[in-house]
Amino acid sequence: MESSSPFVTLEGNEAAASVAYRTSEVIAIYPITPSSGMSELSDQWSAAGKRNLWGTVPIVQEMQSEGGAAGAVHGALQTGSLATTFTSSQGLLLMIPNMHKIAGELTSAVFQVAARSLAAQGLSIFGDHSDVMQTRSTGWAMLFANSVQEVGDLAAISFASTLESRIPFLHVFDGFRTSSEVNKILPLSDDDLRGLIDDKLITAHRNRALTPDNPVMRGTAQNPDMYFQGREASNPFYLATPTIVQNVMDLFAKITGRQYHLFDYAGAPDADRVIVIMGSGAETVEDTANYLNARGEKVGVLKIRLFRPFSVEHFIHALPASVRGIAVLDRCKEPGSAGEPLYQDIATAITEARFSDHLQTAANLRTLVGGRYGLSSKEFTPAMVKAVFDELKKAQPKNHFTIGIDDDVTFTSLAWDPAFDIEPAETVRAMCWGLGADGTVGANKNSIKIIGEETDNYAQGYFVYDSKKSGARTVSHLRFGPKPIHAPYLISHANFIGVHQFGFFERYDVLATAAEGAVVLINSVYDAETVFSKLPKRAQVQILDKKLKLYVIDAYKVAEEAEMGNRINTVMQVCFFAISGVLPRDEAIARIKDAIRKTYAKRGESVVLKNFVAVDKSLEHMHPVTIAENTVANGAAVPPTVPLNAPDFIQKVTAKMMAGDGDLLPVSAIPIDGTYPTGTTQWERRNIAQDVPVWDADLCIQCGKCVFVCPHAVIRAKVYDPALLAGAPETFKSTDARWKEMPGQRYSLQVAVEDCTGCALCIEACPVKDKTQVGRRAINMAEQFPIRETEAANWEFFKELPEVKREDSVVFTNVKNSQLLQPLFEFSGACAGCGETPYLRLLSALYGDRLVIANATGCSSIYGGNLPTTPWSQNKVGRGPAWSNSLFEDNAEFGLGMRLTLDQQTTMARERLTALRETVGAEATDALLNANQTDDKGINAQRERVLALKATLQTMTAAGGAPAEAAHLLQEVADALVRKSVWIVGGDGWAYDIGYGGLDHVLATGKNVKILVMDTEVYSNTGGQASKATPLGAVAKFAASGKAMRKKDLGMLAMSYGHVYVAQIAMGASDAQTIKAIAEAEAFDGPALVIAYSHCIAHGIDMTQGLRQQKLAVDSTYWPLYRYDPRLRAQGKNPLQLDSGPAKIAFKDYANNEQRYRILAQSYPAHADELMAMAQTAVTEHYKRYEELAK
């Protein structure tokens, strides 16, 4: 049923993309959070043949980087297209060189930017203005939208303005807060857009195009004689732009009724205090100012829309003459500056006006201060706005302040009252705490759409996720009410709280935001009579104190009855509507069913019907909870977030972040330079798996395959002296070890059940089958809860058992023995069953104590480095991988730099040691200089030598005199005498696309770096966009019609150098070849490239079958296993060894198990057949080529 409402509810990204798409002919894209949504929509629309305003389907072209996208747009513009792109953060920074060119050539264009933090002391995907402020000098106009409605509107105004002004426009809105907020807006029709655009200006744009029919040239090289004048030649265009933009805004108002100005003032006309601000925060300031003015204050907000070109004149005119104090709020930080950018501009504007003979500044203006707020989507609330206005009342208000944090180091922060709340009573505020997997967010998005489009209410939705990819928590913030909702901040006083996971009560303070008398809907197995008694005391107290009304439903039971698995979304949605009363119950049910049909009809009628069943069954299972008047809170205390034996930093800082209280951390608690301890996931017991593996010691053959493939390193094996079993917990299991090198020992396989994600890859990897019931393995899944406590105790005991001695005569570079090595990568937040992490686990186990890792941005930098807890860990003596992430595009170079340092330090150490040979002793020196460090034993021996050397040097230093200085210099670099390994790791987006130039160069240097490419064949972290690794025939975002080109053969390119060790591996096809290749790469004295097949959630597979898919990929010869070892040439052998044989199955027999291939057959069957045939040809030819080369 189509809605007759003129309103739509959508995200900011869609509002921007809708206008950008309709006004473009060429769109160059590259994924980056949080702008990717705009690119994805454009690609989908183009694939579906949606036409722009002029009846053409825009070409949407993915590029290899944002730099590439900007270059492509530059070229498209120069040849007369209407071209655009979308980006954020570092992506925008990569566009800056082209932006200077595009502006310098006075080219009409609009880039849509979801503004985001820049990576500094740490990366952040969240919103602020750090990125766009870097572009101030590019010559681009900058227009800021503050809300979802404004995003659509100002995207259109930007386009019309750039055509007339010839100045390119950056259209900016806040990343996440606006780009991902769902709000009810009035969209712009094609006619609205046409009314705004002067077609003659488009013709003029085309007439400026480069064409051999009327040849001109641009991009000349200019000399000192005239470059300067050339820079000034465009001045008239910049001078004219503010007026042009205002005129467009006025025309827009005539068309739509919505009036904008370059600077929009709101608040008391006679305000004495004004906040100047850009972006979504302006909405908060406006609402707060109105609230305060209604209570007798005189305050206002000046919202800056056109930040560049900055019109001093328009700004001064917009400022109330009555103002006495101004606070300028910047959503960025420029360390070391005289002030943040907007503050500096306002200061300049006011100063210029003061000295001007034609501009009048406010006569009573006494105060101008600047402050920082909202970095990385830090909350900016009405309470904070009030604190700023209050500060302006002071005779000497704090300048360069911060608001929203507690700066107890340099005391910049202002205090605020968290209890201050301005939201009108008629606005219903609902929060739902769910898991990603339970579908809560999807249902809430549906609810917002229903309320926004099917009722007269306005509605807003915003969704907060934690940073884990498995077992992720989601919190939905929903508002609806009779007036438009301008509240770009999280709900702090909720009328309704849905707790979709009962376990959350223990882990998070979910009722902290409940308003007095709020309704709480709990999903629980406990019934209405018992549920209260099962709550922790903290929640019970809140329920009693705030007089909360409780409802309970066993949503999982309903979902099970409706055959919906663990998707409780529909059930909880129905209950929400029934309780909230936003619609009459029957109408709500009808609307929900309409929404279900809209959402799921494409996926099949039976999916729709199952949801309908869930709808119909929900209400009968929901029950109010009666709490007697004399009820007392006697529930259990909330357990500590981390064990009490955790280190101080973990207790004081990490635990706060884990509990969701990171906002309360003061500046002094945070490391000053982004340096954090490793090995912190061990303190986070997430307990997210319903079922976990359980070892059957009697069946086990101790092959170690389960340990090998465990993506989360929760399965460990040890061989140890039987005497150590004294004091073992009763349920601790062990059996005789089957190692001839270690006779008489016991063997235990232990699962960390509290850290397991329940992915079951281990079960699939187990080669054992019980003779009496062949479905049973030596490791089997069982329910976690009943064994949680005992297995946790077993794990603690197991951890204390000694690790295997690496200097023993055991070769660890085989699958069986490698299980005994302690992994130094554990319990990551990667997706359950991740195909990447087993490779990292293996790498860390083999070489972790000497690893330096350069990690490209992407999945592996998120599950590897996203706070609060990180998986790279340390061994008992404190050694372990040192890890860092620089950028997406520079990872190979970053790793090379590390290698250069290590090499240089080794050279320095050897030189200095040689110089001190006599003092240190010839024997010791020679031993140090000639040490064999090809294995653990050799390295450990060298460590001992260095330890002894340092003791000697310490004595020499203490003795003073001339040798002391030399000793000191050697001491500084002595550790470099021990071999260190640099592994450069990342995904295919980095290696094949954005970082390929660097990767290629690093390989070409011949330096001793190892590169591990975990090839998921898409940009997994940003949601599965195509890369050059994406195979022919697969669907991915940005390849919605199926990838029509072959996958790039990265290995072949690397082999062409001749001096690079190259291997292609797939753990699920051959674990032995995998470990062999990694060991050979490590041992190779030169650059090595290992390309690892990494199954991925973005392939659309049953993740328990990831290893099987790897095997099928190899069996079909789609993914041949090989090793190219240049050392073999010296032995007269072919360096290329093909480790897998000819095709056993057709490519389709592998591919059709994956949704990425099937989806094309479902959508475009004929095209899918065609691509599948091409893919088979490509696979056959590819393998044949390798076969010939390996002969």
Binding site: I125, L435, A437, K445, E605, V607, A1098, Q1155, Q1162
Partner: protein
């Protein structure tokens, strides 16, 4: 001139050798190839309700899996315009086949729910199918389900479909009924225009290397002809429905036997899958040769000529058949068998 034409469910066919449901007719190219090879009608592969459901749920699962869980990736696949999850693709094949081919197109349907039988049958008729074969392919593994319930399911499915469509409806049966004759009669009485005997179940096998149960597809051979042959012979003239013989038809002799048992058509698939669609022409050629040699002028002469009603010893098709086999067996004298 020998007349090979036959009538099946009121459809006039050039000859009685009809390609049964198989992957050969899964797309338009295949259908055209069969027509070019001389097929007088084509039974399309079945539209499986369960498969449609499974595909829908699989699609829904993978489109939802991991979605809305992580800030940077709220989905993992582009939203496509359509997924063809319903029967549309199949209906389009019927539509295209009717446009491209000049022979009757018999659709085949395997339903689970009453709603699907009704809905899909209606849409199949609307798409232009000349007839519909109900492929009630069903393994009643649940011990709680009685024989009566199983039989009821067949009757109900036919009832729903017959109420819905006007095109002829055939029912393809499995051989596993205790009272096959009764079952056939009830289906015939319920309006089945034809009975197709018999469906072949693909029996799973054990992979002893990997201790796995694996699907195992074996093409039929002529030996398998005898089971449907017997029942067609028995049912001929006892039920009003036309009879079609399927399973084990590989040669002109198999064809002749089927016709003589009483089949209006014989259906062939394994032979065509193994040796190509050209086999239609070859079998027909041999059939004509055989008929010419024996001076048959039409297949109508043959039909039912060796049915139970028309043979000298009808008991041969019943228990006596078994007894006769036993009677005809004599132990060889010691050593004699080795010498022969």
């Amino acid at each position: 001139m020998i007349d090979l034409s036959t009538t099946y469910m009121g459809l006039k066919l050039a000859h009685p050798l009809v390609p049964s449901a198989s992957p050969l007719a899964r797309n338009l190219d295949g259908i055209k190839r069969l027509e070019d090879a001389g097929a007088p009608a084509i039974v399309l592969p079945s539209l499986f309700e369960e498969q449609i459901e499974q595909e829908s749920h699989s699609l829904n699962h993978f489109m939802s899996y991991g979605a809305e869980s992580f800030n940077e990736a709220t989905t993992y696949f582009p939203e496509m315009g359509t997924y063809n999850t319903g029967p549309d693709h199949y209906l389009e094949l019927i539509h295209q086949a009717k446009k491209a081919a000049h022979i009757p197109i018999i659709a085949s349907l395997n339903g689970v729910t009453d709603g699907a039988w009704i809905d899909y049958a209606r849409r199949i008729q609307q798409a232009g199918a000349d007839a519909l074969e109900l492929n009630i392919y069903y393994v009643p593994a649940d011990p709680k389900i009685s024989a009566d319930q199983v039989e009821r399911r067949y009757i109900d499915a036919l009832f729903h479909v017959k109420r819905t469509v006007t095109i002829p409806v055939a029912v393809k049966l499995s051989p596993y009924f205790s009272a096959m004759g009764n079952m056939a009669k009830r289906l015939s009485d319920s309006g089945a225009n034809a009975l197709v005997l018999f469906n072949r179940f693909y029996q799973p096998d054990f992979d002893l290397d990997n201790y796995e149960v694996v699907p195992h597809l074996v093409l039929s051979d002529s030996d398998e002809l005898r089971l449907p042959l017997r029942w067609i012979a028995i049912l001929y003239k006892r039920v009003a429905s036309d009879l079609a013989l399927t399973t084990g038809v590989h040669t002109h002799l198999d064809t002749i036997k089927g016709l003589m048992a009483g089949a209006a058509v014989v259906m062939v698939a394994s032979e065509l899958l193994a040796n190509g669609t050209k086999r239609i022409g070859e079998i027909l050629h041999d059939l004509q040769g055989w008929m010419a040699e024996r001076e048959y002028v039409s297949v109508r002469q043959m039909r039912g000529s060796m049915s139970q009603a028309h043979v000298r010893n009808p008991a041969m098709f019943e228990r006596a058949n078994y007894m006769k086999t036993l009677d005809s067996w004599r132990p060889d004298p010691v050593g004699q068998s080795l010498s022969r």
